[in-house]
Symmetry: C2
Subunit: 515 residues, 2 copies
Amino acid sequence: MNNTLRHLSLIATLVATLGATHVQAAELSPAQATQYAQASFREYFELLALPNDAIVPADIRKNVEWLEAAFRKRGFTTQQLPNDGKPMLFAEWPGADPGRKTVLFYMHLDGQPVIAEQWQQKSPWVPVLKRKNAKGDWEEIDSAPLFSGPVDPEWRVFGRSSADDKAPIMMFLAAIDALKASGDKPGVNVKVVLDSEEEKGSPSIGKVMLAHRDLLRNDAIVIHDGPMHATNRPTLIFGNRGAAMARLTVYGAKVSLHSGHYGNYSPNPAQRLATLLASMKDEQGRVTVQGYYDHVKLGDAERKIMAAVPDDEGALKKRLGIAKTDAVGANYQEAMQYPSLNVRGMQSAAVGDKAANIVPDTAVAEIDVRTTPDSTAAYLGKLVEAHIQKQGYHIVKGKPTDEDRARYDKLASFDMQTEGGDAAGTPMDSAVGQWAYTAMVDAFGAKPEPVRIRMMGGTVPTAEIVEALKVPFAIVPLVNADNNQHASNENMRMGNYIDGTRTIYSLITHPFTAR
Amino acid sequence: MNNTLRHLSLIATLVATLGATHVQAAELSPAQATQYAQASFREYFELLALPNDAIVPADIRKNVEWLEAAFRKRGFTTQQLPNDGKPMLFAEWPGADPGRKTVLFYMHLDGQPVIAEQWQQKSPWVPVLKRKNAKGDWEEIDSAPLFSGPVDPEWRVFGRSSADDKAPIMMFLAAIDALKASGDKPGVNVKVVLDSEEEKGSPSIGKVMLAHRDLLRNDAIVIHDGPMHATNRPTLIFGNRGAAMARLTVYGAKVSLHSGHYGNYSPNPAQRLATLLASMKDEQGRVTVQGYYDHVKLGDAERKIMAAVPDDEGALKKRLGIAKTDAVGANYQEAMQYPSLNVRGMQSAAVGDKAANIVPDTAVAEIDVRTTPDSTAAYLGKLVEAHIQKQGYHIVKGKPTDEDRARYDKLASFDMQTEGGDAAGTPMDSAVGQWAYTAMVDAFGAKPEPVRIRMMGGTVPTAEIVEALKVPFAIVPLVNADNNQHASNENMRMGNYIDGTRTIYSLITHPFTAR
């Protein structure tokens, strides 16, 4: 991950010359892709009918069994990877050629929990077809034409995991069906691993992968998860921020006090917390904790790639309802390259009906820190802690004792959980990145070019997935950005399903040449 | 109230010469006071057995009827003052002399609500006698000796309203019993009004008083309510701060956002609220809103009187558990002379188990402002509003519209309730203040001198009580400071009951000479 910068100067040149140097591989035409995608819709509906919240191991097993059969039917060798009752699935395309590189395709079969009553359909486990009506609402329509007639790319299938992440699995199977029918030669050896606990943060993926190191051995991992860029252009992601949680508590008097008798006298912890938080950021939302951004080094080449991402920030601000953004980066993509310091919750005593005329005894801020590969949670946490001390605070573990109270004017506790949810980053000019980029350009053309995102702001368990095997990776998301992922009314746009089938076909058929 | 300053220069001289100029009146010895206090304990227990939450008018009426009988029995003429089913009680000592000044004694018969299970006794409505045991806990003891044997001043009677405010009413009756027995001549004409809704903020006292203006006509009002100084020295209070509430809401994006995808990008309203609150006070807790303290003018004479109040700030800080106080005033009493700006509650999204990785959509601070006679809620509210605007905020009423959001970077709403709970203040050298001070010195001696408090920090409905009749006032609290007023296990120290009887006797027998 630390090679990012070293390699970056190469990328502009490489990208410019790709067309000239790479071997043209087989592609799937839009018509072919539609044909094989459509042929997979029955199985897609079947798969969506299987509940897949990893909190119910029996449900996970049903999904694994269904998927194992689907992969075997197509000629894959498969193996369930035991994981405490919630097995993962490994599948391998036969005929591996030692002369070719091996790519491990990662997807996940589990889904987010559902709140069934929030879904505008009979059940999240009974997928339905919808189209947007004249009023702009999603209207359920007969799904029969989906399986036989012409497919409208704007149609959407609604159901839990319809996008996240069962659609990529089905696109993958559709691409394999197309490959088998065309007789095209794969450009890489193909392995697949399907995680069973991604929505729980993939707590076991590293362990399971290490336990099957030889089986899973590969030259690069492709992660098919998460949404594409909002433009639906082919999207390639080179990393994601990590997430760490902290709780900052400022202490006032031992108990809440009558605000008449003690307002102006006993220090107010809510006021002090406010002052402390205010000291951590400037008016433009930039973190002022010393050293916080020091490890972020963005060169001109990277800035250029980020500026090329076709984010419509005017539309975004309108959607969010804000007139101006924080000034951490020059644009949205740049902002995501920096670690964040976000107050995700704050409370002192109560507001509304429960508010009382008191000087509160404590004030709490819950903070989430988004980390980057070079700015870890442990590093950032230490900086914040030093900052708090620099503001005159004595930091206590747990509640202050009477002695602490007698001795120190300003008392706070700061507890940071630095484990889990690490950031991940891979050089934008890595071999696997080049290979995936070329495949996308060959399938969809160079203009407009695929969207390359250096680091997405959110946290996905990339680090957990790739660190066990220590191989390069690329994230290739395939589903529409507005899929309501994790929420009710999750949905999959059919145009994306077809395009995703083409993308996977192109990846599989492109020879992967490590530099 | 605006005369405070004009008169203050006189007070030092007057106080010094009081001993020489005033007519010595009749006093009650400690033994006599104990005798008449003890004789009143049966009635005190009877009165405490009557529930008196003003939310139940029938309960209030039972208290009024009981009290009316108690006053009549002693020779008072009485009249119930209708108040929407919760009458107040007026009583007048017969034989008013037009040559004497008339003093209206204000007390209240209603009490705070109770949460019975929080009381360490059978019922808040069954008063019990307790003494502190060797372990320092309050231990219930047989109450029989209270009615016949020697009274231990450290004994306490526990029950709702045992202190606030039924004890002063009973001390008053005990003092009258003593006066009748001694044959001493009253120094003033005595009127009494018992409020029935003080714990609800005395919403009707002004209206009821105005409706009976002639009946209640007087030269000064003495308010027997609230706790004495913690030293239990005779205490005289010349005013109290008012209370006003405000709610400050800072708006972020229209909805809560994923903190990974939008942290560092969409402004965080909790962070902004923190910065805004931080701009309102300095590190020492002094309000920095322009003009906030401008109307507070404290002269050397006043500062001297305040410094003379025997507050043990070392012990207070230890009890509160703070190493240092805010620096609004040079001492506790001075701090109470200034208007306050206190964050009584603060919230943005959630903390603890409910915290989520979001950029919250709003952040709210509930603020209470303690006002002073010269710094009203309306005046202070305007200053705060102007301050918010000076920080770059556009102030909206209710939620911002899409247009507001497109146009203004910083959006907040600020709603201040300026009605009710006004501050009250009376010159420390007023005739009524002089008269009460003299009575206290004559009863208890000049060394240590009575505690004079220019303005107490809390808010009592003094303004509502005195403004209707536009007469000078003095607050003469009689109950122990640690009485658990408003809370469970409210209690009354017997030593204070006896001393209070002496104080009232001294007030009643002292001629009141208006200057």
